[in-house]
């Protein structure tokens, strides 16, 4: 996909004045990241597509309300995505339990395509446990590992301090370790 270098501040100004081309540039820049986030939070390709579209529609309708108060535009987008995903979970009468085999395996960036056709059993188990974690802990892991964000960046999105994110991360790892205790994933001999 062609990448056009642009000054995000200028593009944001134009987009907030109703310039659809400018918003289109923002869309191209953030579509992959938002899709990744929603995909891992829903575990469902169809809903990920639907919610990603809604994130950008909502952002387009409210971009004039976006003001840069030290919070990057990406954080604002993630917050929209977070709210929509939370509503999506709330709308379901019971917590979604997707049979792990039904979760589509999408090609990972940088890997050979054939390598992605099969997800290892260990990864399936771990993904299953991650989906059982409370929403904010799932957010944290997705932003940290999928998006490679720092604790400070995650804090900006989640509205928490860097220390609080670090503490939450530690508690999340402890919870995962305890859940994985009886599983085939060995944490002690690696």
């Amino acid at each position: 996909m062609p990448d056009i270098e642009f000054n995000e501040e200028d593009v944001l100004t134009r987009a907030s004045q109703g310039d659809r081309d400018a918003f289109g540039l923002l869309y191209e820049r953030y579509i992959d990241r938002i899709f990744n986030y929603v995909y891992y939070r829903t575990g469902n390709l169809h809903d990920a597509e639907d919610l990603t579209a809604r994130v950008f529609q909502r952002a387009m309708n409210h971009i004039q309300n976006y003001t840069d108060r030290g919070v990057p535009f990406s954080a604002w987008l993630y917050r929209i995505a977070h709210n929509l995903v939370a509503n999506w979970h709330r709308d379901r009468s019971r917590r979604q339990e997707i049979p792990i085999n039904d979760v589509p395996v999408l090609p990972s960036k940088g890997d050979h395509p054939e390598k992605n056709l099969v997800r290892s059993q260990e990864q399936d188990v771990l993904l299953k446990f991650i989906r059982r974690l409370p929403g904010e802990r799932q957010n944290l892991l997705i932003l940290k590992f999928v998006e490679n964000m720092s604790n400070a960046e995650i804090g900006a999105i989640m509205g928490r301090s860097e220390g609080a994110v670090k503490s939450l991360y530690h508690r999340t790892l402890l919870a995962l370790r305890d859940q994985l205790g009886d599983q085939s994933i060995n944490l002690d001999n690696e």
Binding site: I4, R20, G24, D32, N36, Y39, A53, L106, P107
Partner: protein
């Protein structure tokens, strides 16, 4: 509960992080999904935006060229009028 420890050893931490990094990898949204999303929100593609920008550049040069040409014609006409028309 077999594990009640509230601390992670360095080995456990590294192993768990390695497993998480291997599981939570960035994925590429399918091309058809990106295209459908673009259609749904009705954004022009990046290439369209880029070509539109190039069109504007071309239009600017064409307009500038026409204006310069007209100035040259008017100047020549005035010179001819001055040299010939006055007699």
């Amino acid at each position: 509960m077999t594990r009640t420890k509230t601390k992670l050893s360095d080995d456990q931490l590294n192993a768990l992080e390695a497993h998480l990094a291997g599981t939570l990898k960035p994925v590429t949204p399918p091309v058809d999904v990106v295209q459908r999303l673009r259609d749904r929100i009705r954004f022009p593609q990046t290439v369209e935006i880029a070509s539109r920008l190039r069109d504007w550049e071309r239009m600017f040069f064409v307009f500038g060229g026409v204006m310069s040409g007209m100035l040259v014609i008017i100047t020549v006409a005035r010179a001819l009028y001055y040299l010939v028309g006055r007699k």
